[in-house]
Amino acid sequence: MIKFSVRNLLKRKTRSLLTLSGIVIGVAMIIALVSVSEGLTMLATEFVGNFQGIFVLQKDVPDDIFSRINLEDAEAIEEMSGVKKASGQIIGIVRGLEGAETEIGLESLTAGYFIGVGPEDEELLASTYNAEVDKGRFLTDNDKYGVVIGSGIADSYNKNVGDKIIFNDIKWRVVGVFNEGAGFMEQGIAIPLERAQEINGFEDDIVTMLSVMPENPDEIDEVVKHIDLRYPHLDAYTAQELGETAGDFLGTIRTAFWLISIVAGIVGGIGVANTMITSVYERTKEIGILRAVGWTQRNIVVLILTEGLVLSIIGGIIGIFLGSAVANAIAGVTGFVVYVSFELVTQAFTFALTVGLIGGLYPAIKAAQMDPVTALRYE
């Protein structure tokens, strides 16, 4: 029976291919979209896990990019009780890394942001981002165009200590490379604060954010409260909160991607059912013949369902590979982390089987219920 249904499918190539592509597209969509969102979630989890300390931004700015803080505030905060250290940084976007075109919109999530730091921020990067210099050294006061690059960038662009690297129309020299597992900093570049100010067109004493390290990590929430109270123009968060916000955002993306996948699935499923129904109508006579020569209704249902299942299995497998390839391509182009989990593969495959079964069930039952004599007289 299986062999017979496979022969049937092979004999009706166009129809089979149509059905197959419906399943493949549905499965590939699910794999690609969900793996990207799962990758992002993993990144966010890492983000939350690695961040410690407090971030301070200007209050009520529409986006972090618009935050402007005077370094005087950093000095003042450092004087507060319970605060060990406070320093200013500038976060900016790396453009034209090694001549690469960065696309607006995607760039903030791709390999490519810099953080302007002072030489004294080494400890801060270590405690906040888990970023420690693995090769070479950290920035010193003498480094005018020296940079420390994330391991991700070092790998992608094949850079090492002593190499030149070009971005934002400036030629820099790599003085150090951060460790792997530096989370956020794996795709980041630490540059001297002054250069960051120049790139962003800031005054000498302006930064985008402050990083504050509490004396005692257990008192972090109190320090946040104090800063908020004492400096109404500033907004302090724990890194934890920031990570959670990112997590929420990614949760939304995830839900959206799942919804898109489900819609794709339903559309694919209807498409599959539709081709299968048409195919059954086209085969009215054939089914009448089979019934007349003694096939039971059940035999007919089994035949049509087997055809549907064979297509689902093949479509599912192709879809999983295609989806993973697309996900990897997305990863390659955008620098997103993608993660194709075993669960996702199972879910996508289950989806394929369900579509094949449900798509096949209705036409199968319809076909089986046809009156053989009428089907035989059908021209």
Binding site: R291, A292, V293, G294, W295, Q297
Partner: protein
């Protein structure tokens, strides 16, 4: 073996276009018979064959197969009955166009437990016996009308039926090939006691049959036994 009592088949009952395809047909067919059914076009030959072979259900009356009333049987039981006991050669070829001759012949046995090799062997043998040993892998479209009809004959025999219903089995054949098909049926009838009920327009076939039923307007108008069957 198969018996029908007061069989009626009406289409579009109760409407102005009502068709009484069969009216009060009663008939008894025993194992090993060889029957030719003739009658003008539209006289109800095909309808009768469909009802006797449990392909269709009557509007009223009964069909008994092996003394059992078929009206109470489920669709599955009737399907299995057809598969195990009956063969059918349909008016028109009713072969499946996309598969080869040998696959068409094998169709009835695909859902059974018979193993593939055996099915193939049987199909080859049957196609050889209808003179199509050299056309096994041809699709219906690549066969002549007569060859298609012979494929249909082979298919009706693949399940070793006890009774074969043949609706115009020689309609597309020249008289020589037509007679060779009849001869094949007669041989099977003699050797294996397979019963044949054949509907035809070809009056010359009457002489080859042991029994001749003539129909008109949905009724049997003659039912003759022929003691002087013509040989080949």
């Amino acid at each position: 073996m198969i018996e029908c009592k007061k069989l009626c088949k009406t289409y579009f009952a109760g409407t102005p276009s009502q068709v009484d395809a069969l009216t009060d047909v009663s008939l008894k067919i025993k194992t090993g018979e060889f029957i030719v059914v003739t009658g003008p076009s539209g006289s109800g030959k095909s309808t009768l064959l469909h009802l006797l072979s449990a392909l269709d259900r009557p509007s009223s009356g009964k069909v008994l197969i092996n003394n059992k009333d078929t009206s109470h049987k489920t669709d599955k039981e009737l399907s299995l009955l057809r598969r195990n006991l009956l063969g059918f050669i349909f008016q028109g070829f009713n072969l499946i166009p996309i598969i080869s001759a040998i696959e068409n012949v094998a169709l009835p046995l695909i859902p059974t437990k018979t193993n593939r090799e055996e099915i193939r062997e049987r199909a080859v043998k049957l196609l050889e016996s209808v003179g199509l040993g050299h056309r096994l892998d041809h699709k219906p479209i690549e066969l002549s009308g007569g060859e298609r009809q012979r494929v249909a004959v082979a298919r009706s025999l693949i399940n070793n039926p006890r009774m074969v219903f043949a609706d115009e089995p020689t309609g597309e054949l020249d008289s020589k090939t037509g007679r060779s098909v009849i001869k094949l049926m007669r041989d099977l009838n003699k050797k294996q006691k397979t019963a044949f009920v054949m509907a035809t327009h070809d009056e010359s076939l009457i002489d080859y049959a042991k029994r001749h039923i003539k129909m008109k307007d949905g009724r049997i108008v003659e039912d003759n036994h022929n003691n002087d069957v013509k040989g080949f």
